[in-house]
Symmetry: C2
Subunit: 184 residues, 2 copies
Amino acid sequence: MQLSPTAQRFVLHWGEMGTRWGVNRTVAQIHALLFLADRPLNADEIVETLGVARSNVSVSLKELQGWGLVRVVHVMGDRRDHFQTFEDVWDIFRVVVEERKRREIDPTLTVLRDCTLEAESDPMLSDSARRKLQMSLDFMESMAEGYDELKRLPPATLMRLLHFGSKVQRWFGRKDEAPDNERK
Amino acid sequence: MQLSPTAQRFVLHWGEMGTRWGVNRTVAQIHALLFLADRPLNADEIVETLGVARSNVSVSLKELQGWGLVRVVHVMGDRRDHFQTFEDVWDIFRVVVEERKRREIDPTLTVLRDCTLEAESDPMLSDSARRKLQMSLDFMESMAEGYDELKRLPPATLMRLLHFGSKVQRWFGRKDEAPDNERK
DNA sequence: ATTAAATTTCAGAAAAGTCAGAAATTAAAG
DNA sequence: CTTTAATTTCTGACTTTTCTGAAATTTAAT
């Protein structure tokens, strides 16, 4: 499959962004390609379009399936697997957020819970360090909670919520006007 | 400086999380260490505590200063630089979000704007691809907007907002009940 | 100015991550 | 059951990133 220069730029940039967020470049590129494609693509089409090794595509597709971002479909009269991803960016966003929560936030929560518990009876730890560990735990729990909310919202709601941010701020922001930018 | 086992676990885990999100392990570890420390630390104390090379610490500290996460302070009667970070996790969160927006989201917005513009007159591009590019742009713009709101909120407000998520959902969620989980 | 301490730069070693091609496996068709 | 197509696994080469130790530079004190 021949990519238009526009599509090519999109795919390449997405690959770069992937690397910045801890995602393999090829994985991100394949995902971008499937996103733009008008139909499910088979592995060889991806190989041809992106110019990477067949094996690389195979591994990357497995990775994307592991994330729940790509699924296999079949085309009539063709025995090869074909791959597609969501058409709606918001769906992609939600899946990514959900998976990162599961893979990184949740384990971090476990560690933080252990740490705060352990901290109570750790004589080497200062009160202020104890306090900061507790704060980190509270923070992460708020984040996890926020994530869970997020994933329940339908895309349109989410979008409206984001656009609505400034108004929410006006409602909620009244009470704590302390700039609170000073340190230690 | 000798770390308690609890603090050690925290620092090590934070280093691992860093690598998962595209941040250098040492950089993340140093940041975690400064966060837990009761006072500003000098470079040699960091070297000693984390067991990494002096030069590595120097470069990592520069990186952290580049992110606006660490600042240099001086201790009376000591000519060495000492380093500290925010005490409040929410401050850290806001700085990181802000910086990532500036470094990754904004450049992505530029690319997406170019792409959607180019797409209009690109005959190789299907209508559906054009539409998806536009959707991506809209999405990223919403995200950028949301980020900007976020950074203006004082920590306490942000926290309340997150905890309030479920209620917001009930208000906003009424109109679009389409589960909309199907693909292509 | 000279000396000494502190910090940064730099070049290369070490480690981690990425990727291609061959070999092995699986699945389908005849 | 055999043949062939499709896919996956595995190994090693290559690339990039991370990290160290030495040298160079900067900064401060005498």
